[in-house]
Amino acid sequence: MMATTKSQRRPQEIPTKAARDSDEGHEEIAMGVGVIKVPFVEADSTISKRWKDYGGQLLTSFTPRRELVMSATIIESPSLPPTSSSSPPPVRFHALRAHSLSLSLSLDLIVCLVAEKIGLFHFVVSLDSGFCVASDLLSGYDFQSFAFFLHVKEKVHWLSLLWLDHLVIMESCNCIEPQWPADELLMKYQYISDFFIALAYFSIPLELIYFVKKSAVFPYRWVLVQFGAFIVLCGATHLINLWTFTMHTRTVAIVMTTAKVLTAAVSCVTALMLVHIIPDLLSVKTRELFLKNKAAELDREMGLIRTQEETGRHVRMLTHEIRSTLDRHTILKTTLVELGRTLALEECALWMPMRTGLELRLSYTLRQPNPVGYTVPIHLPDINRAFNNNCPVKISPNSPVARLRPHGGKYAYGDVVAVRVPLLHLSNFQINDWPELSTKRYALMVLMLPADSARQWHVHELELVQVVADQVAVALSHAAILEESMRARDLLIEQNVALDLARREAETAIRARNDFLAVMNHEMRTPMHAIIALSSLLQETELTPEQRLMVETILKSSNLLATLINDVLDLSRLEDGSLQLEKGTFNLHSVFREVLNLIKPVASVKKLTVTLNIASDLSVYAVGDEKRLMQTILNVSGNAVKFSKEGTISMSAFVVKSESLREYRTAEFFPLPSDNHFYLCVQVKDTGAGISPQDIPKIFTKFTQTQPLATRNSGGSGLGLAICKRFVNLMDGHIWIESEGLGKGCTASFIVKLGFPDRPNESKLHFVPKVQANHVQTNFTGLKVLVMDENGVSRSVTKGLLVHLGCDVTTVSSSDECLRVVSQEHKVVFMDVFTDGYEFASHIRERFGKRHERPLVVALTGNTDKSTTENCIRFGLDGVILKPVSIDKMRNVLSELLEHRFLFEAM
């Protein structure tokens, strides 16, 4: 049937170009409504080309000259009326190619597929007899391909080309026909494929080699080499395969076999090698994992370090905050706030010790601004533990110091630590009146982590807490010092104000007293003078012995009173510092002589022997306050006379050698030797009443009466020694009294600092007539002067000189005459000392008691030897003038004498 319709029938529709192109090669099958168009294969070489067109795919090989017929039966669906018979007529279609056994299975599949696609109710494919033959023919081919085209009713359904591959029974050549030529197309495709496989097989090892070469770190070079060899060998087999498509020789077969054997060997080795490598590769993986873990750990540590750095920064900031103030409250408040913030604390509290030392009081907290009434006993175990430990210690959250807020009981407590804060300089705190129970005091700082959080105290947090506690301690001590100093300053200011007030009051009092003294002094002096003067006059009159005694007593008492008045004034001036030394050059020897003359009368009345011993090296002249020095000597020696009933009073004066100055040193007296000064020591020793040793310190104080008995008898020492002490102090000196005891006499000594007279060279000794020319007094009109000179010419000349200067001159030629004439009115007596001048000077001094009331006795001499001057000084003359005397010189001399009351011209 296929053969008859093959050439006549045309497809109703030509679905594809291929269909049109292959008119002759198509057979139309029209049964009922459906037409199945089945291409068939003609027994020529063009068929492979057509198949290519239809399927777009190439069969690798097609065996030409084989005519295969396949018949197929299509059973129409029931909805379609059968065309020829009542039973569904079988649709047959022609197979283009006969298949082997396995082909039938493929066909079944095709049938099922087709039926599904076109919605046929029933589809039956049956194979005609030719199939079997064909199957036989097909043996030995690698691939078979079929394509079916179906065309049902009006529509033509083209099924895509179906490919069915199935393995060809690889029978050897000698099964039926060993030299059976292979299908040429398939052979060709196989040939090409093998070539490309070989090409690929060869190129892959090259790439592998390249990889091995470039990758220095890859560990499994050998494996790759083996792998490469395996691939090369596989490629070789495929390459050798090229020769097996055609008739091949035995050599080829041997080569092929060898190649295959090698391939097998190498592949097995490779497989084994791979088995060996796998654990290694797996271990590489493990190592990688390990490294990854390590890196993660490092990351974590890094994070930790960062956190610690952050904490450190916080500590610094915190420290800065704490240190930025010196106010104690601010420090503590800041500490708590900053700690709370830095460590994210639930609560932070500071317990300060109470002044009793037995309890701690809650002073500051983070959340409660003004905690009051919280106290805990100090001897709790938790507190003791914290106090005895330098580091923060964990304490129970139930501890009283931690129980600051009402606890709901809902959550667990957070971790609590306590750290001690040493209270340095505790004595400066308000709790300073603690009993001295222990040397160290601490405050307690309690820190709580938030409740119901799993947070624990970290080591670095605890360290931070400790550092902060130390810082707080330091800051507190600073603040305490500041507070203390502020307090001290306030106190000092108060004291200063009080002292100032007291000083002002005292000054006012002193001024008032001084005013009073000055007024009283003046007011008392005037009547006192009258009393003294009139009693003196009374003494000159005729009196009965009783009256004379009375007058003498009056005179004595009034003299004492006058001295006392002077003393009081002196003392008041001494005390307010207004008394100043009147320094000048004076005759030191004559001071002693004068004192001696003054005390001699009393001493002789009391039958006391008075001796004066002036050291030979004592300078005749000295610079100092003559009046005060004399007052001091007089007072000391006067006391000696006063307190002695019998025996001797020995006065001695000497210069303290600079090398022995040290012996006189006391707490208040530091004599220092110098070229311009010397220290005069005066000692007055008596055999009088003496002083008991315990009274010695009091003797120099005002109005002290150490010897009531002696006082009663002698009128008391009064202010004398107190004033002496002040005078001596003013003269940079020191006064002291030594006594063996009552009734054993005593020795009063004092040292004063005196200057050497200014004498740049010896020739100008003491004479300063030409200095102070502008101060020289030029008018001596009415000045009463007495001139005593045996030499008439000299007398006349001297008189002429003095008259020329305006003086009222009286001349005498002998000392007897002079003594007759001289009176208190004469201010100066010029005398030639050659004969009996020295004696005359003594007479004058004896006649006029006080120095200021007697005439100045000045030697006028032509003798230029030193002895003259020394004699003059020794005999207490007030000056020496060398002849010749000019008018100017005389003027200067007079001026100088009246001003300074002494003048010694250099020889």
Partner: protein, 153 residues
């Protein structure tokens, strides 16, 4: 007037001659001249005449002393001392110098030296007397003519 100024010049030259060239007088004499003022117009003359009276007396005394059997040098020394004082007072420099030498001889009890000095003193005194008289005459002449004595420095 010419005469007066001439006399004045003469006086001045003479006194300079006495002072500087011969050393008869020293500054003390100038001081004496200064002391002579309205209140004591004859001061210098009085003092000089006093001096010559004194010196005459002293010279006689000394001469007598040397004629004694036992020469009292101490006594002579006292006289010389006085002579020296007087001469110094009027500024008779040469006499004063002789006195100083004289005193030394007295202390040494050198009779020859003392006698020589005594003679010298006598001679000097008479010379000085002549010179001063001449000077004083000149002064008187000037004053009489209505002039004034020049002031010495």
């Amino acid at each position: 007037m010419d005469a007066i100024s001439q006399w004045r010049k003469q006086w001045f030259d003479y006194i300079q001659y006495l002072r500087q060239e011969k050393g008869f007088l020293d500054d003390q004499f100038v001081q004496l001249k200064k002391l002579q003022d309205e209140n004591s117009p004859d001061f210098v003359v009085e003092v000089i005449s006093l001096f010559f009276q004194d010196s005459e007396k002293l010279l006689n005394n000394m001469a007598n002393s040397f004629e004694q059997e036992v020469v009292d040098f101490k006594q002579i020394d006292a006289h010389v001392h006085q002579f020296k004082g007087s001469s110094a007072s009027i500024g008779a420099m040469r006499i004063k110098n002789v006195c100083v030498t004289f005193k030394n001889y007295c202390e040494a009890q050198n009779m020859d030296g003392c006698l020589r000095c005594l003679q010298q003193l006598q001679q000097e005194c008479s010379v000085l007397k002549n010179k001063l008289e001449k000077l004083l005459n000149l002064e008187r002449q000037i004053l009489a003519a209505g002039g004034s004595i020049p002031v010495l420095e």
